[in-house]
Symmetry: C2
Subunit: 233 residues, 2 copies
């Protein structure tokens, strides 16, 4: 039976071998939710950057610059980190250079994997189906918050473990913990998340609409994949 | 209000400042459960060693050598890592040099803290009372398994958060996740733990009696503390 494991923080990536695994990178609030939304609306490519200045330099080279630091839009960038900025006809065909506090760092640390895909609640079933029909073992990498474990990414990991439980076996305790938390939260994830640190942080920034959207399963069927340094469909 | 945080793995210790905190080190299966049992039965001191050879050298110097690697007793050591080896009159007054796969490593990483105490379900209420009446903020350090997050230490952290919830505020998402898991597990922790990785590992070693005992709250009232390099009451 294939196995699934969950890395609850990018700072624990050294514990996992990824060369033979499919890695799912998840940063629910909000990097990977934005990426999935963008591809669902016809964006051509997203190039993730861990480094802010390297991302900024792409602006003169035909790229839209996007992202945030500490939850806020970066001065001089074209777009921030709300999924609602990545909807509608105007994003079609865009090439985006993207940097965020946590999500793009987690992608950077996953680059040695056999395959890297982008997960969010918005494309949950697309992710689960892909994992089910792939031959690879699985590692879900939670972006967390500056190395610390967060609830929303853990819940997503638990949702994937739960969906695949009859076919793919948890490797260790982290997937079991995530699965328990997801089953506890799933009937009302917004309520469950209301005391979480990142929701409190984002509430101060007035993005409750973003939070509700990012916790909604299966809005899109797209499955962004990393090819070299670039995400495409 | 004082705050409580939970470090789910020793490999995340770099994210936490501990100089002004009371750190509770926990390794339920089985290092800190053994230590608490030993002190409850009159052991004089326990000197934790991260390094196996340094621990072994203490044998000629009036110390009992104790511990395990990968769940198994170390060849040439006096005692292993079952709490039942640390009961009865014969342990009274002993000085023990102790090394384990995870627990003593977590103690080593906690040494910069304002105060380091030893937690287990066996002395849960003693730990909670001490934390309540101390002025320090709190960090619970879960020993985990070779850097990976485990369920049993997370459940203990959640039990402490739950007990103190009216008086001490969670600092981040890890204490909230631990608290949810504990509340889910508390009515039958042995059953909840039956699928965990470490219980499976230990079941192969025939230590189900140890597991049941280590998950039993409030058998003892002792509170081992680190003084320099030595644990005493």
């Amino acid at each position: 039976m294939k196995t699934i494991d969950v890395c609850l923080s990018p700072d624990l990536m050294h514990l996992y071998k990824v060369e033979d695994r499919t890695v799912v990178v998840v940063d629910i609030l909000r990097a990977t939710s934005c990426m999935v939304t963008a591809f669902a609306h016809g964006v051509e490519s997203i190039t993730p950057f861990a480094n802010l200045d390297m991302c900024r330099e792409m602006r003169g080279q035909g790229y839209i610059t996007s992202g945030e630091r500490d939850g806020k839009m970066v001065a001089g960038f074209d777009k921030g980190n709300s999924p609602f900025e990545y909807m509608g006809d105007q994003v079609r065909g865009m090439r985006i250079a993207f940097t965020t506090t946590n999500g793009t760092q987690a992608i950077e640390k996953s680059k040695g994997a056999k395959e890297v895909i982008i997960g969010s609640f918005l494309n949950l079933s697309a992710v689960a189906k892909h994992l089910l029909f792939s031959d690879n073992n699985i590692l879900i990498v939670c972006a967390g918050w500056k190395g610390k474990v967060n609830l929303e990414d853990t819940l997503f990991a638990g949702a994937v473990v739960e969906k695949l439980k009859d076919y793919i076996q948890p490797d260790c305790d982290a997937p079991l913990a995530a699965q328990h938390l997801y089953n506890l939260a799933k009937s009302d994830m917004v309520k469950f998340m209301s005391n979480s640190s990142h929701v409190k942080r984002l509430n101060r920034l007035n993005v409750i609409k973003d939070i509700e959207f990012c916790l909604t399963p299966d809005q899109y069927k797209v499955l962004p994949k990393l090819n070299g340094h670039v995400l495409t469909l």
